[in-house]
Symmetry: C2
Subunit: 188 residues, 2 copies
DNA sequence: ATCGAATGATAGATAAAACTATCAAAAACA
DNA sequence: TGTTTTTGATAGTTTTATCTATCATTCGAT
């Protein structure tokens, strides 16, 4: 029994997922009733589109990873201009903060093998790039690839948060993350 | 009706909170029953010590902030050796990762005014130090104090996580965070 | 305008966790 | 040892959110 069939239904499902995302960022404990209300639909209809809360969260997580993955694949890993890869990546990732929000904050997703696998697959190309950068002497070799990846990820996330809260302008955010990641907060 | 009266009771309450902390890190969705079992006490006794789940979470959060605050107050803000402040702070903060875990991951705590106020009070002295460091030309002035604080906080947290997972040795963790915070991941 | 599908309001079933009450057994204390 | 307090097991109540069923109304395509 596949819930969505036509194109219209898929669009509506997308709208529901968008609304859920938006509300859950404001209020991570929002119930399905609240989500339905926020999306402007009846609770019954919500249940016609999603199988369960768990499935909803899983979908949000997977969709997030998918969107992030697509953005990431746009960035070319050019051997010539290797040092441009990370800055370009950051630039692309910053606006997606809302999508990855769940991945860091929803406890139920921690257990999903599916999510963990997808997340791992996602970081792979980035880790590969980081390894290359280390070999080329651009990134420190005494820091693990994993550490660099995590630092990158976290900085992107807090930048997005600050933009969200209006404490940081959108435009300079990417440059700030890049600067901080590569050179830290030290003056000169 | 104040639940804990004698010193023994307070010790027991502490033990319960410790157990709860430990379990909730492994399994953020653990029920009170599971927590009681993990702590090796009956569910009825657990309820004799805590008023409700919400109160438990609040207590864990406040206790975390208290512990962190105490550690932070140990670090002297010496005008002479201003540049040693942050490294010393990081050194002191790394082992406390488990205490601050909730503050970043439990959704119910987001709403507590009490927590938010305590958190704000906590960061104040650090932000003051960061401001001084900026004035002395040690920290970049084109980055907001808030940004530096968040970067510091996040790096400490991911370091603790990696130590926890055995992906990073305990000893070099603080140095790694300090290095990354001040000079980033760039080689040379 | 009409027919079939989709919706929303409502009422209610189900499930799971939080919380309470009770009482016999154990522990603490004097 | 005898008394008081605390505990743990158990059973039961309350609460809350998820999920289902129904049906009159609305929407959309023709």
């Amino acid at each position: 029994m596949n819930h969505p069939r036509s194109a219209i239904k898929e669009a509506r499902l997308r709208a529901i997922l968008d609304a859920a995302t938006e509300l859950l960022i404001q209020k991570p404990t929002a119930s399905l009733n609240e989500i339905a209300e926020y999306a402007g639909i009846g609770i019954a209809t919500l249940h016609r589109y999603i199988e369960s809360r768990e499935q909803l969260m899983l979908q949000l997580g997977l969709r997030a990873l998918q969107v992030v993955g697509e953005s990431m694949r746009q960035i070319p890993l050019d051997e010539e201009k290797l040092e441009d890869y990370i800055p370009a990546l950051i630039e692309a990732l910053i606006p997606l903060g809302d999508k990855i929000y769940f991945l860091t904050h929803d406890a139920t997703l921690y257990y999903s093998e599916e999510i963990i696998a997808a997340e791992h697959k996602l970081k792979e190309p980035v880790c590969y790039a980081i390894r290359l950068l280390q070999e080329k002497g651009i990134v420190r070799q005494d820091m693990s690839v994993d550490w660099v990846w995590n630092a990158l990820y976290m900085l992107v996330f807090i930048a997005w948060q600050q933009v969200q809260d209006g404490r940081l302008a959108k435009r300079p955010a990417a440059q700030l993350v890049t600067d901080t990641l590569f050179h830290g907060v030290s003056a000169r």
